[in-house]
């Protein structure tokens, strides 16, 4: 039953994973968190999410 209803297509999974991993969960902020390799996570999030816009376009038309 799961196979028919739960969507496991790769593009959708990537989009859903990125949304969760970059924006959700326990959030540590402020001085307790150190930056690594000067990575701006907001920038990283925007960059990765933008690359998934195409996926959203496919989602809306059901072409996945």
């Amino acid at each position: 039953m799961n196979e028919n209803v739960i969507d496991r297509s790769r593009d959708i999974t990537i989009l859903e994973v990125l949304d969760r991993v970059l924006n959700k969960g326990v959030i540590l902020t402020g001085d307790i968190v150190i930056s690594v390799a000067d990575v701006d996570l907001v920038y990283l999030g925007v960059k990765l999410m933008l690359s998934s816009v195409e996926t959203m376009e496919q989602l809306k038309s059901g072409k996945h």
Partner: protein, 248 residues
């Protein structure tokens, strides 16, 4: 880097076994940093040269997924790095109660996502016909008014407003129907609406593991009942969207 906070102590045999078979970002070994019965699963990361691309993010998520198979956990947002194990332990100690409460809330539960897409233009066209008919009827009942640019403008705006209103009311009624169906499976749910012109509903559910088949059946029924809508169910996920802690 902290991957997750799990309900287990660092001596937990199963935890040791699971962690020994995995590697973190930059191929580093995992470590368990505990306070009482909660443990942060962490790995060392280089201060320079760490790759933080899509692949690293997906690897990160797959580690959280693997841990989730065996433990109740709170995923930690990607990129959360603390200076030392000691700092992590202090953070766990300081936020122990809140972490425990959240672990309790998600214990034995799974997260699912349900996105609803529709052809909004088609739907709007249907509402537009209704609105136009309504406004024409209203206009004919008002006597003594001549057509004017002003009146056309007001009518146009009124139709736009009515379409918007009808669409919102349609989405709200759909959310209500989904919510009603969810009471049977005791789901904790969150809804966002009109995220884009086509993504009319973005729903999240936290359900008991045993309720998975009922949720799937529910979505199957929705698909049958609303053939014009596109329902996309994803999951099961670790409870990313039902963790309510910001630590600063």
């Amino acid at each position: 880097m902290i991957y997750s906070i799990i309900k287990a102590s660092e001596e937990h045999a199963q935890l040791i076994a699971v962690l020994s078979g995995m590697h973190g970002i930059s191929n580093a070994d995992f470590l368990a940093v505990s306070y009482d019965d909660i443990t942060a699963v962490v790995c060392d990361v280089p201060k320079v040269g760490m790759v933080t691309d899509r692949s690293a993010t997906m690897d990160y998520a797959s580690v959280v997924d693997s841990l989730f198979k065996d433990f109740t956990l709170l995923p930690v947002r990607f990129g959360s790095v603390m200076e030392s194990d000691d700092e992590i332990r202090k953070m766990l100690q300081k936020n122990y109660k809140e972490i425990k409460n959240n672990l309790l809330k998600v214990e034995g539960k799974l997260e699912f996502g349900l996105k609803v897409f529709c052809d909004t233009l088609k739907l709007q066209a249907r509402f537009e016909d209704n609105s136009k008919a309504e406004i024409n009827v209203a206009a004919t009942t008002v006597s003594g008014q001549n057509n004017s640019i002003f009146k056309d403008y007001v009518n146009k705006k009124l139709i736009e407003y009515r379409i918007e209103e009808s669409l919102l009311s349609y989405v709200n009624s759909l959310i209500q129907k989904i919510s009603d169906c969810c009471t049977g499976i005791k789901a904790i749910s969150k809804f966002k609406k009109m995220l884009s012109p086509t993504n009319i509903i973005d729903a999240l559910f936290l359900i008991d593991k045993e309720m998975t088949n009922q949720l799937i059946r529910l979505v199957k029924d929705l698909k049958t009942r609303y053939p014009d809508l596109n329902f996309i169910l994803t999951g099961p996920w670790p409870p990313y969207n039902f963790v309510d802690i910001t630590i600063s």
